[in-house]
């Protein structure tokens, strides 16, 4: 059996903001590989460079040095893209952020449907798939509502549905459960795991929620821009206390 190409692979990713006196090294020499079907947590204190890593992999914020491959395809080399990032994002990448960032003038259903239509899905098919997803995420009864009529948690679940709509090869989530209660938060994490396992997507989730860590296949930790081995006892105050 040949080892399949990982969903996400980075090599020596470094991001430097500014220059001279104001230079900030937000991320240094980050090399990682996340396999298809794997769901990985990324921990680390504030300012450690987690969002920087995520946005680099997501082709939103190019690294200064290093390379990124997605599904075995090199997509970034230093700060230059090797693919059309817009169409690559559209087809292969799903994002969830701390804030839902739904389009305020579209209903929940339309927000999800839009993601599919942007990816050239015919409207009726897009609509059906969007409904299924919202139903599945437990916001089926609110799909005709505009975002401002939904609670923070409901909005976040719509955002998750939107991220998963096109069955992306990789899902990147930056503190997706910060606005959710622990039950809903865990539900979302479990959904990610399901997406990873069922669709063979690589999922990378930045989280501060240590109670849901058991959902993940692997746990990474960042500090001062660098990746380091996760130490169960060190990083998990809840477990240490018990």
């Amino acid at each position: 059996m040949t080892t399949p190409a990982p969903a996400i692979e980075t090599r020596a990713l470094t991001k430097i903001y500014g220059s001279g006196n104001t230079e900030v090294v937000a991320m240094r020499d980050v090399s990682l590989a996340i396999g298809k079907g794997q769901v990985v947590a990324l921990l680390g204190p504030s300012g450690a460079g987690k969002s920087t890593l995520l946005t680099a992999i997501g082709l939103i914020n190019p690294p200064t040095f290093g390379s990124i491959s997605i599904g075995g395809l090199p997509v970034m080399e230093g700060d230059s893209a090797l693919v059309d990032v817009r169409s690559f994002r559209r087809r292969y990448i799903g994002y969830v952020f701390q804030k839902a960032n739904l389009i305020p003038f579209l209903t929940a259903l339309e927000n999800v449907q839009l993601a599919l239509e942007i990816n050239d899905e015919p409207p009726r098919k897009a609509r059906r798939r969007a409904m299924e997803l919202l139903e599945y995420l437990g916001v089926g009864d609110r799909m005709k509502n505009l975002p401002h009529m939904l609670s923070g948690g409901q909005q976040q679940r719509v955002a998750v549905a939107r991220a998963l709509a096109n069955s992306p090869s990789i899902v990147l989530a930056d503190e997706p459960t910060a606005a959710l209660d622990s039950v809903r938060g865990r539900q979302v994490m479990e959904l990610f795991r399901k997406v990873a396992h069922d669709q063979g997507a690589g999922v990378l989730v930045v989280t501060h929620d240590h109670r849901a860590l058991d959902v993940f296949d692997e746990i990474l930790e960042m500090e001062d821009g660098a990746l380091r081995q996760h130490d169960q006892n060190d990083a998990d105050p809840d477990r240490r206390a018990s």
Binding site: T55, I60, F88, R89, R91, I103, F105, E110, I118, R162
Partner: protein, 403 residues
């Protein structure tokens, strides 16, 4: 999925208000164009309606519309003797401002050559043309007079027997039509005292002069009314309108008359030209420039509105980019709103104009051609003015979602 419409639906109140504003602005642009057309139309209306081939006016002048023109009334008879002349009518034209019902009434007094010309050619909306040699008038609606109203001008009382619409002098005042003799009576109205003074002055001149001694009989007549003195000239008229006989060449007839030393001759086309070039031209250019400025201002305002609308959607546009939406999706969002804003504003402008323009003191003529042209301009400025918004949208980075 149409994003432009959904965004508008969500911000309906704001979009409606903005559209109303743009609509009113465009209505003013439309109105300016209409005033411009009205000015031209009004200026040439009378010349068109009168439908004379040749205008015979005072030597060296450009006729009553441009300046004071005075010619002898007997010119009418002289002209009738010219071969190729079918009719010659006296024409009197002067402006008076009198009080009527406590308000100033400004009108252009127009004398018709009774009985050949009773004013049948006037665009009457009520009543009838002149039916008597004296004391009747046809007034334009603009003057605010009603059928049957009576109006004291000079020593006489005139009653309104007909009403016209749209008969306006180049100064914007309404026209009133009288017989030539009434028009002259109004123009040369003198008080009894000044008549008495003039008669005695006439007698004094005759006494002092040789002629009084050589022809004593004249002395007896000197203080009689002017119309009983063949030696005293009758009041002068403004112009004589000549119509060439069928088959006669108006240019040839004009050529013939222009040989006379005491008159100048203009064709109807020249009169029209004179009106447009002379009196109306500056107003016309002024309005033209003002309209151009308004179009530019509308474009700038629309650009700012569209830019602000785009700015408000920065996050959403960043999100769309992050989701991988093509630029065409974002372009469509902005352009569709721009065209919708311009288009709805235009429609609103049209209906507002239809409602408001009739109340304007001067005629506002909206021609289909002007409407079409403004439509094209509106679409063009909608598209052009969205350039600023589009430029902004294209610069938005997907990671602005995160900020």
């Amino acid at each position: 999925m149409n994003l432009a419409l959904r965004d508008i639906r969500h911000n309906l109140a704001r979009f409606s208000l903005t559209t109303a504003g743009v609509g009113m602005l465009l209505m003013i642009v439309m109105g300016m164009g209409g005033i411009y057309r009205g000015l031209i139309e009004d200026a040439v209306l009378l010349v068109n309606k009168i439908d004379a081939d040749i205008w015979v006016v005072q030597q060296g002048t450009r006729g009553p519309f441009a300046e004071i023109s005075r010619i002898q009334r007997n010119l009418e008879d002289r002209l009738l003797t010219v071969p190729g002349v079918q009719s010659a009518r006296a024409f009197v034209w002067h402006t008076v401002q009198r009080d009527h019902g406590g308000k100033p009434l400004r009108m252009v007094v127009n004398g018709l050559s009774w009985p050949q010309d009773k004013g049948e050619w006037l665009p009457l909306v009520a009543g009838r043309p002149l039916g008597a040699a004296h004391y009747e008038m046809v007034a334009d609606k603009l003057l605010g007079l009603q059928l049957g109203d009576s109006l004291t001008l000079g020593k006489d009382v005139y009653s309104v027997v007909g009403l016209t619409q749209g008969m306006i002098g180049q100064g914007g005042d309404g026209l009133a039509f009288f017989t030539v003799s009434d028009a002259l009576a109004i123009q040369f109205d003198t008080s009894p005292e000044s008549v008495r003074l003039e008669r005695s002055a006439r007698k004094m001149r005759a006494v002092r002069d040789d002629i009084g001694k050589v022809q004593p009989a004249l002395l007896d007549k000197a203080d009689l009314p002017a119309h009983r003195l063949p030696a005293v000239s009758r009041p002068m008229i403004s112009a004589v309108l000549v119509k060439a006989a069928p088959g006669a060449d108006p240019a040839g007839v004009a050529e013939l008359i222009s040989g006379w030393q005491d008159v100048s001759v203009h064709s109807s086309d020249e009169q029209r030209e004179l009106l447009l070039k002379g009196t109306v031209d500056r107003a016309r250019r002024q309005i033209g420039l003002f309209t151009a400025l308004l179009v530019i201002i509308s474009a700038i305002i629309m650009a700012l509105i569209l830019y602000t609308l785009t700015l408000d959607k920065t996050r959403d546009i960043a999100m769309l980019k992050l989701m991988g939406a093509r630029n065409s999706v974002i372009l469509a969002l902005i352009l569709q709103q721009a065209v919708l804003l311009g288009g709805l504003g235009y429609v609103l402008a049209y209906f507002l104009g239809q409602w408001i323009f009739p109340y304007f003191p001067r005629r506002v003529i909206i021609t289909d051609e002007d409407l079409f042209r403004l439509g094209i301009i509106v679409i063009a400025i909608s598209v052009l003015s969205s350039a600023l918004g589009v430029w902004k949208a294209m610069k938005i980075q997907p990671n602005e979602v995160l900020s």
